[in-house]
């Protein structure tokens, strides 16, 4: 074959043509981001959680009652100063709930801006599901935000076990003395330091439809307090007709699903990982007893529709007024009240299993990433919203949540909220004795394995014993792998 040699001139012509074309394309098409009409912010879909009307009119830090805890006045570690905007420091805040972003800006960001003039918040939406990927890349790439809102013990632990967050002790040495709900404090403390600032909390209760209770011949003022009474109520509601369902449990195979199953799990006394943090305990008899109870009383009895369900779909089903009851965290209360009205959306404490009623703790935190560009600006916001009772209550009432500190329940803002929402009382009762689910190494894999077992039993794919056996094997393998790679076990002895 005859190959032509590339002449210098030819190479030059090709190079100039390609580079020129590319430059022209880039210059014309990518010159600037498009700026059509300003987009609306991501807003809530059909049944959003509306912040209480009073949320925007609460006292600021300066007008808070004297009894309220004051924000800590502490020094912050030296950090590279970030260019200020109009004389203000800028803190980039990542918020993790798309449907609550508007409420976050309207109630929290504005409240902070009105209360001080030194720090400007730049609120950025990063959904929980994408948080891990995005935050890891941002920290590694040297462009970390200054504050991140994280939901739940598992995700919090995922970050601080990897050293991705700054210890709060650095900013606030008195952090260990605050009256946090014990389970929350347990979940954010590691190596005797606190790695995240709790900003809200929640426990699990039974939300039920009082109108369906009446129609089924049940007493709507008397919520079931045991698993047996709960199943009995669900069975009677199911008998109202083909379109009516007694109860729903979450069946999606992810870690969040098992989170919704913890309340029932704890009621059976079923522990997930051994005290030394090295052995998964899904093969213990308590778990088998729980799964067999679930299969017999929930699945085989026909009180629940067999389909993929998560917290959102259960909330939507409850809004149709054809579902009798389900277990949920407080952020769902407003949805229930909007759909059913004040009178018919009721709550009761988490029904007790053979070993009692123990709710899993739910909570959210604000963390300061370990490579935050401007941690002091970030801390000024964290300190403002987490260490002052009234300001913290603004947050909690805006999103329908509970304060993480017991004394903050006495704040004026939260006290008014409870008066308007008496359905919150069971949540507050459950919060005191709530337990934190396992949150150590391989936490997501372990809970996902458990949720897969729930799913398999729900859809009849496996018998309870087989489902738990598979979950045990999968979870133990994940834990062993993490421990072998140097992760420290979560010791709870």
């Amino acid at each position: 074959m005859n190959h032509r040699a590339l002449t210098r001139r030819g190479l030059l012509q090709i190079s100039v043509a390609t580079v020129g074309s590319l430059s022209a394309i880039l210059a014309t098409a990518c010159g600037a981001p498009p700026t059509p009409t300003p987009p609306p912010q991501a807003a809530a879909p059909a049944a959003p959680t509306q912040p209480p009307a009073q949320a925007a009119t609460v006292p600021t830090a300066t007008t808070a009652p004297a009894a309220a805890a004051k924000p800590a006045t502490t020094s912050v570690p030296a950090a590279a100063a970030k260019p200020a905007v109009g004389g203000k420091k800028v803190a980039n805040v990542w918020f993790n709930q798309a449907t609550q972003m508007d409420s976050f800006k309207a109630n929290i960001v504005d409240h902070f801006h009105k209360s001080q003039t030194e720090t400007q918040l730049n609120a950025i939406l990063v959904p929980n599901e994408d948080m891990s990927t995005k935050l890891t890349a941002a920290i590694a790439g040297g462009d970390a935000p200054d504050v991140v809102r994280i939901g739940g013990p598992a995700l919090n632990a995922t970050f601080y076990l990897k050293g991705a967050t700054m210890a709060i002790d650095t900013f606030d040495p008195k952090i260990h003395t605050y009256d946090y709900v014990p389970a929350i404090k347990r979940a954010i403390t590691w190596k005797e330091k606190v790695w995240a600032m709790p900003v809200n909390s929640g426990s699990q209760v039974l939300i039920y439809n009082a109108e369906l209770y009446r129609r089924a011949g049940l007493d709507p003022d008397k919520a079931p307090t045991t698993n047996e009474a709960m199943i009995d109520a669900a069975t009677k509601i199911r008998k109202l007709g083909d379109n009516f369902w007694g109860q729903e449990f979450s069946t999606r195979p992810n870690a969040n699903t098992s989170n919704l199953f913890h309340g029932t799990q704890f009621g059976f006394g079923a522990k997930e990982v051994s005290g030394d943090g090295r052995k998964v305990l899904f093969d213990e008899p308590d778990h088998l007893e729980l799964f067999e109870w679930y299969k017999k009383n929930v699945i085989d009895s026909g009180i629940m529709p067999i389909k993929l369900m998560d917290e959102t779909s259960m909330t939507n089903d409850f809004a149709t007024k054809n579902l009798g009851q389900y277990l949920a965290y407080p952020s769902r209360l407003e949805n229930a009240i909007q759909a059913l009205g004040e009178q018919d959306a009721r709550t009761g404490v988490l029904p007790a299993g053979p070993k009692g009623s123990i709710s899993p703790i739910g909570f959210g935190t604000l963390i300061i990433p370990s490579k935050a560009k401007n941690p002091e600006a970030g801390w000024s916001f964290v300190n403002f919203i987490c260490n002052d009772a009234e300001n913290n209550s603004v947050w909690c009432t805006a999103f329908g949540q509970l304060p993480p500190r017991l004394s903050f329940r006495e704040s004026k803002v939260f006290g008014d909220y409870v008066k308007r929402r008496p359905q919150l009382t069971p949540f507050l009762d459950g919060q005191r004795t709530a337990r934190v689910p396992y949150f150590g190494p391989a936490v997501n894999q372990i809970w996902t394995a458990y949720a897969k077992a729930v799913e398999a039993v729900s859809f009849g794919a496996k018998a309870p014993a087989d489902a738990l056996k598979d979950a045990q094997a999968e979870a133990q393998a994940a834990l062993d792998k993490e421990l072998a790679s140097g992760a420290e076990p979560l010791i709870t002895n």
Partner: protein, 292 residues
Amino acid sequence: VSHRAPAIDLPSRATIRSPRAAWRRWASRGALYAFLIAGALVVCLPYVWMISAAFKTPGEIFQTNLIPREPHLDNFRQLFRNYPIDLWLINSFIVSIVVLVSNLVWATSAGYAFARLRFPGRDTIFLIYIGAMMVPIQVRLIPSFILLRELGMLNTLQGIASIQLVEFFCIFLMRQFMLSLPYELEEAARIDGCSYLRLLVQIIVPNVKPALIALGLLSFTASWNNFLWPLVVINNPNVMTIQVGLSSMKGENLNWGVLMAGTAISAIPLAVLYVGLQRLFTQGVVLSGIKG
């Protein structure tokens, strides 16, 4: 002299095939069709579910019926009212078109060089390109992020497009296609004094149109569906592409119907492109030997 063989009166294939052989033929064909139909169902079902969910009410989403009981357009209304979906689509179009044009230019010129020109280190450079193809995006993520940060291109469309402007796979594809072209094409042109650039533009490019179509479609699709890189480099909702925008809708109170409406809309451009250019795309794939 006729070289034609004398005609023989042969029985037709049907008459020599025994009933058993015919049954076997029909059975094997039936099994093949059953297999293909099952495969098609597996591929199509997620799309059918997506379209179905886009027209369902929230309470009906996770029920097994594929045809909505009360089909409605509320999900689409909410989508356009509450989210800047038009902006996300425009951003995706801009990025994908830039990536497409860039890859066509680079892949054609570099593919031609690797296939038809001789220069020192050609095969070594090509091997390096092949090696680079094997490095997944996850490995390049952080270095690319740092590079972009230093260039001040985070949160820009340029930043999203930059990492995809020169795809080694596209260069590889064009090289393979150009290797199949007869050398006589360019030899005649070279004898007439044609320059390399003119040769490429006027002789080679018209003969590699099917490959360009295939390459363009693949490049556009990859850019349109790209999620990880835009997710990492974009914080500003005004610069989000459609895939990142859809992802940003997730969270508590997620309305699956609205999300599926957005997903269905995001799939329309690709569906139109593939259906419209199906014949040329298939031809390009066959001629350039793309597999998998």
